[in-house]
């Protein structure tokens, strides 16, 4: 997998977590998983299609998600409340949205689809389709995992950038 395509996701997660958790985050682990992905907490997936195609899974401890929700909505949120998966989805939306904006600025065209919460079975199935890079970020409120799987379609890019001379 091309690291130059992954780097915007790392920068984006770092920035979003710093803003939303009001605390710094640092990468503590990076692994490649060729097979099924085992969910660590509450996971949301965002799919994108275009010159770069793939999906990103944001996976975080429900307790950490509840703390983010509490901080941002100004009330106590329990880890079992429906607001918690909503929070994970919205964080995933922000991380992926900011990253693809950076990639779009570099000339890559694609469309992003709304986030969806994944069950353990869906997580495993998502991981079996192709190899993924998994980054683990440590925060003061628990670990956050980012599972990135994507393919760059060089042929499509060449076709789009080619000029017809008559």
């Amino acid at each position: 997998m091309r690291m130059d395509l992954i780097q915007p996701f790392i920068g984006s997660l770092d920035a979003v977590l710093a803003e939303m958790m009001n605390a710094p985050a640092r990468i503590v682990d990076l692994t490649m998983e060729p097979e099924g992905y085992r969910r660590k907490g509450m996971a949301a997936s965002v799919v994108f299609r275009g010159q770069i195609e793939g999906r990103v899974i944001l996976d975080m401890d429900p307790g950490a998600a509840a703390q983010v929700a509490s901080y941002l909505t100004g009330g106590d949120v329990n880890p079992t409340e429906p607001m918690v998966p909503e929070t994970v989805c919205e964080l995933a939306n922000m991380v992926i949205g900011n990253a693809v904006t950076l990639l779009n600025d570099r000339g890559f065209q694609f469309k992003v689809f709304p986030p969806e919460i994944l069950t353990q079975e869906q997580c495993e199935a998502a991981g079996q389709a192709c190899e993924a890079t998994i980054l683990c970020f440590e925060t003061t409120r628990g670990n956050v995992h980012l599972n990135i799987s994507m393919q760059y379609h060089a042929r499509r890019s060449r076709e789009r950038s080619s000029v017809t001379v008559s």
Binding site: V16, E19, M20, A69, L72, T73, G74, P82, M83, E86, T87, C89, E90, N93, M94, V95, I96, G97, N98, V100, T101, N104, D105, V112, F113, P114
Partner: protein, 149 residues
């Protein structure tokens, strides 16, 4: 959350009225919290573009905060439909995806401004002041029961 000097309507000095449109309940609650800190009032919420159109007609808000990526009808199409019927509508796009193309499309359809998620309260406050222009004023300290900085 930090409290801002309350923004009020110039005509009647009442709180600025907002319609918040986002498919994420979390995002709506988070924006509502910011609006509260600006001294504003959320008069309606919608989770998709279709509902936003009917809610706009029902509530006639001063400001709409509109997400882009939503089910059923996306934010840019909703902006076009609302502005067709209500050219005076003041709509601020709020999205995590800040493509130049998306921003231009929204502005061309009639949106007044764009802010990228995660939303910083200070940035949103300044944008709302700008979009309200002559129709919005900052209330004096303590006016309308709101705290000042």
């Amino acid at each position: 959350m930090k409290q801002f000097e309350a923004l009020t309507r110039k005509t009647d000095h009442q709180a600025v009225r907002y319609l918040v449109v986002d498919d994420s309940v979390f995002a709506r609650k988070s924006l509502a919290k910011m609006i509260e800190s600006f001294g504003g009032q959320v008069v309606g919420e919608a989770g998709d573009g279709c509902t936003a159109i009917t809610e706009y007609a029902r509530t006639k808000p001063d400001i709409v905060l509109m997400d882009i990526t939503m089910p059923q009808m996306e934010g840019i199409e909703a902006v076009e439909r609302i502005v067709q019927d209500h050219p005076e509508a003041r709509i601020v796009m709020v999205s995590s995806v800040g493509y130049q193309d998306n921003i231009l499309a929204a502005l061309q359809k009639g949106a007044r401004h764009f802010v990228q998620k995660p939303v910083k309260p200070d940035a949103l406050y300044e944008i709302i002041r700008y979009v309200l222009n002559d129709d919005g004023v900052t209330a004096p300290v303590g006016a309308g029961g709101e705290k000042s900085r």
